[in-house]
Symmetry: C2
Subunit: 325 residues, 2 copies
């Protein structure tokens, strides 16, 4: 039965399974939790939320690019490092302020290409790279980028706050194309004007400030269902998703689409009465959004369509990251 | 003549020469400078300074550990990543808030050891690790850590603000020992009580708030003279250093000491009338400090002692990072 196979394929997708080692790692920090005075949210969300004693909070995240891509396209590595970091802040309803990077490089040419990619990302998103560290002599190329942003304390969109009965919304910039470096990347920005890109990336800030979402997350390497799974896991809920309602581009295989990192793509949960306004905010700036499901009390994430129903994650036994916020 | 050899040896020290590629890299960002609206200081200082529209500023830095050390001692890699990052914030007179990391690892055991090192660093310094990204399947081990801190806007200690006529102070925690992993590391923290370590690391905050320094920087891989060189380079000044006045431990070769990363060590510049009070603040918390020289209008960094005088850097032709703040 196709839907069972699809559920299994998503569950075993590398973008999902690569998240598994995180909980082992995070558990090592358990004994030092008393030192976490200023952290409102730490591991398990797109960005950490740091209290600075004012009405604003600082958002803080780090991200890096899969090694496969670093060697294939240094320019794209630099450019997309900006995209994923800006996403970590914007997904939480924040405004990005600045980035820093650590570059390790075996050769000068790759470094220059990576930096040109970063420069073009800065030009596109308007978020500066303000410092970092350089290893000029490593036997490999790698790039780690970290970002800070700012948000009003009571407008932050977290991952761990979805409640049973909330509806699930998926939102994508459909004006994109499958990336050259991976069948699971979707480029929505490199060919567009900065003003359009910035409007679309900042949409979550409006949703946060209007308090239209109960939770949300940017769709990243685990894809649409995998990312919703991470949201459910930390919210300690389940979900049922009607696959027929997921917006999709005409020219991309549906299973591939579900696994894609859509660059400008979010899963959100909202109270039913706010769904229409939430979708309106997305559509006003050119993002396609739709109600795709519901948050459930059972700790299972199910997908269904005309042919049947299957469980992708059963959090009574499955873990994606295993993190408890 | 020994002093000439010493000057050459410092100029060609790997800790100094590894800084050279930075200006090439930074120059790539020149065309996107108009996007740097919120950045008061970007590249070229220990941390970037970000305006958030209040009396406080956010400090933001990234650092990483030499690959040689990562493979030799994963625990030390994790631990010292906290030390160097906390230093980037404390050297600017800030209070560290939180860190994030990107870990790339080829094996689970190394990752766990690195994370245990980070945990012990958190326990020592009281600064939490709040998030990050994990590559569980790279052919190498590497760790990049980024940190944020907070400081009063008018109390930040920058590198680029030294003026001719200022005196130069060097300050070290002399209660330390040469690290196991490199002849150029000096461990001042792993064997001490957290309360003592935290007092000594926070000394620069008091100096910043009392406005006792005109500029300052934590002594890092380039060593005492190399770090003073970086400060002079971005301040567009020179300096003359009386080697006889540099505090030194009994049991370490002097040339080695000058190249050591002293963990808790700073070079500062100050107005002559504030020198005594500045040294007093250091000594109150157990750090040894002394006036070691003077900032000069000529763009040369000279060292001298009883035997003679030699130029280590002539910034009319030499570059360390080449960055202009």
């Amino acid at each position: 039965m196709y839907i069972e196979e699809l559920a299994e394929s998503i569950r075993n997708f590398e973008g999902v399974t690569r998240k598994k080692p995180i909980s082992d790692i995070v558990s090592i920090f358990e004994t030092v939790r008393p030192e976490y005075r200023d952290a409102i949210v730490d591991f398990g969300d797109d960005a950490a939320v740091i209290d600075i004693g004012t009405d604003d909070v600082i958002l803080f995240a780090a991200d890096a690019i899969w090694g496969k891509i670093v060697n294939k396209s240094p320019w794209w590595t630099g450019y997309t490092s900006v995209v994923v970091n800006v996403n970590d802040i914007s997904a939480m309803g924040g405004r990005p302020l600045a980035m820093v990077n650590v570059m390790s490089s075996s050769d000068h040419d790759s470094t220059e290409e990576v930096m040109r990619g970063i420069r073009d990302g800065i030009k596109k998103f308007g978020v500066p790279m303000v410092g970092g560290h350089m290893h000029p002599d490593t036997p490999y190329n790698s790039l780690a980028v970290s970002i800070i942003g700012i948000a009003k304390k009571d407008c932050v969109i977290r991952s761990d706050t979805a409640k049973p009965g909330d509806i699930v919304i998926a939102a994508y910039d459909m004006d994109g194309r499958v990336g050259k470096n991976s069948p699971y990347s979707w480029d929505t920005t490199s060919f567009k004007e900065p003003s359009i890109v910035r409007d679309r990336f900042m949409v979550m800030q409006e949703i946060g400030e209007k308090k239209l979402a109960t939770a949300g997350k940017d769709i990243s390497n685990p894809g649409t269902i995998g990312t919703l799974g991470m949201l459910c896991e930390v919210s300690r809920v389940g979900a049922s998703v009607d696959l027929r309602n997921i917006p999709r581009p005409d020219n991309v295989d549906f299973e591939q689409w579900l696994k894609i990192y859509p660059a400008t793509g979010y899963v959100l949960t909202a109270k039913e009465e706010n769904a229409a306004e939430c979708i309106e905010v997305f559509e006003k700036c050119g993002i396609v959004a739709a109600v795709i499901g519901k948050i459930e009390e059972t700790r299972k994430l199910d997908i269904y369509d005309d042919d049947g129903r299957a469980t992708v994650f059963d959090f009574s036994k499955d873990k994606i990251t295993g993190i408890e916020i």
